[in-house]
Amino acid sequence: MTAPMVNLTIEGRAVAVPAGTTILEAAKVAGVLVPHYCYHPGLPVAGVCRMCLVEVEKMPKLAPSCATTVGEGQVVHVYSEKALEARKGVLELLLINHPLDCPICDQSGECELQDYTFAEGRADSRYREPKRFNPVEDFGGDVMYVPNRCILCTRCVRFMDDLAHDEALCVQERGDRASIGKATEKDLTHPWAANVVDLCPVGALLSKDFLNKARAWELDRTASVCPNCAQGCNTIVETRDNVVMRFKPRTNTEVNQYFLCDEGRLDYRWLNRADRATQPMIDGVLADWEEAIHAAARLAKGATVRLVANASLSNEALYLLKRAFGPGVITVRTGAEAPLPGASDLALRADRAANATGAEWMGYRRVSAPLEGLGAGDVLVIADHDLTGVSAEAVSRAKAVIVIGTQVPAAVTAPNVVLPIANMAEEEGTFTNLRGRVQRFLQAKAAPGMARPSWFVLADLATQLGQPAVHFTAGAVFDALAKAEGAFAGLSYDTVALKGKLAAGATAGARA
């Protein structure tokens, strides 16, 4: 049953929203941002910051728009003189004990206190007394706390209580001595605890990993998908000068809401590795792309091929590999599953690979020993697999080894052909998460040397192997894949867009 619609006017704009919506959310529909600190769409409403005060006609006092539901015929003024005056007062009080250390604060440039003070606050302070001072505290995990900058919005406390179900944080002391504190004998060691850094609207909670590394305005942001587990959380990859600096969660209410787990967000350094395969090679000698592709095709043609693929390759790469060599085997690294209990169907999944579902739908077999039963005359094709736990002797049984990957695995001592490809931050493509949701990621940085996007290399290779695959974009590969593979029927690269789409192969009733 859908809620009845309520009509109201916000800043002169008529909007209709379902009954029960807050004025703040209705204002977003009207395209008006009401300044706010304690309100966050992913957390329960607290109404403590008083920053979202708006004037509602016929109400005796200003109303906190995050906690006031809409009423029929309401007329809301967000920028009336009275509302602006009230918010200016709130900002002045918030800044009383604030150190104003924006030059050394990591949040600077993406700080809501900065933004709203610039937009609506006083130009100077009337406070002449000495400011309260508290030392910086280590909260454990990846989080550190700078109490002087804290505005006590309690977003972090509510996240730990209501989403993580781990009451590690609380407001300690009262009045102007109040600050956020750790509960007795608790640390922010919850596997999702680093989300409090993203939730913090000011620079009070900071990531130790990102501390002093870059300024917010230097970063380039690219929509992507976390490649570190099967959940497929939507992310923003933030890069500076072609180096991935951090992952941030990207809102997708169907998958990860507003969150990203600690393990996923901190595991980005491999995208910046310097020891990459950068040149196509034939028998250890640098070669042109065309020669290398032909050499690989000559080796594989007519031979028994053992294809070992990385389960974090894109759907496009896996599809073209299957076209070229037939479906191969994948291995999936596993770890402990770590759910975020307050969010439905959201966890750091046991499968620490981004696309095992997509691979299995296309007929790839999940094995633990990828080279088991490798025949002496076989051609081994390694598709971005690191061959962890495989010995060089096992590899040397193969007649020939073709490496299509970002690196040449240590177990491969003498690859016959090396075809360097881009990693997931250097190309675009799609992943299928464990619920069968196909999600796109975009290119965030340039590939090193002569490395090419995986779909580009594999389309050439498949064509040389008599499986014509002439595609000029990753999107074209995906559209061909959607036609060929039943599990992906009906999808297109454009409709998958940036929020993803459930594929036909997804289990019925799954929501992620």
Partner: protein, 165 residues
């Protein structure tokens, strides 16, 4: 074939150099009795610079001699010539400081934006103009060089004119 040259017959008063010579000598003699000096006897004598002169940079220091800079990154952001290289670091007490701070004075256009934007009043353009070096590398001033400078710094605004600010 001869070119047709038109020969003008000008009056002697116009063509004589006597008049111009006397005029020039009169000016010379005037300076002899009224020495209106324009030439500065550089380097013995030096010009007094305007308080708003913007020359090569200087980094101011705190009492203990370390640079005031906190590596906030505003000067490389605002710099229109892209001549400031800054790598932030962190000391044992967790304070931000510049690990690398270099200004390429060849690239610099001496706009003074870096001084204007600096929240710590650390980097300044200087009232200084003698910048000769033996190599091009000498014009990339590192932090040590910037803090070692002693020349006075730019006022940015004319202190006598309150409207300037």
């Amino acid at each position: 074939m001869a070119i047709n040259v038109k020969v003008l017959d000008r009056p002697i008063a116009d063509t004589s150099y006597l008049r111009a010579t006397v005029k020039g000598m009169a000016l010379t003699l005037k300076h002899l009795v009224d020495p209106h000096k324009v030439t500065v006897q550089y380097p013995e004598e030096k010009w007094t610079l305007s308080p708003r002169w913007r020359g090569t940079h200087r980094m101011l220091t705190t009492e203990d001699g370390t640079a005031k800079c906190v590596a906030c990154g505003l000067c490389p952001t605002v710099c229109p010539a892209n001549c400031i290289k800054l790598v932030p670091g962190e000391d044992e007490e967790g304070n931000r400081y510049p690990l690398v701070f270099e200004i390429d004075e060849f690239r610099c256009i001496f706009c003074g934006y870096c001084q204007e934007v600096c929240p710590e009043e650390a980097i300044h353009v200087g009232r200084h103009y003698e910048n000769a070096e033996y190599s091009r590398d000498g014009f990339v001033y590192d932090l040590e060089r910037l803090t070692a400078q002693t020349h006075p710094v730019c006022e940015m605004w004319d202190p006598a004119d309150p409207k300037g600010e």
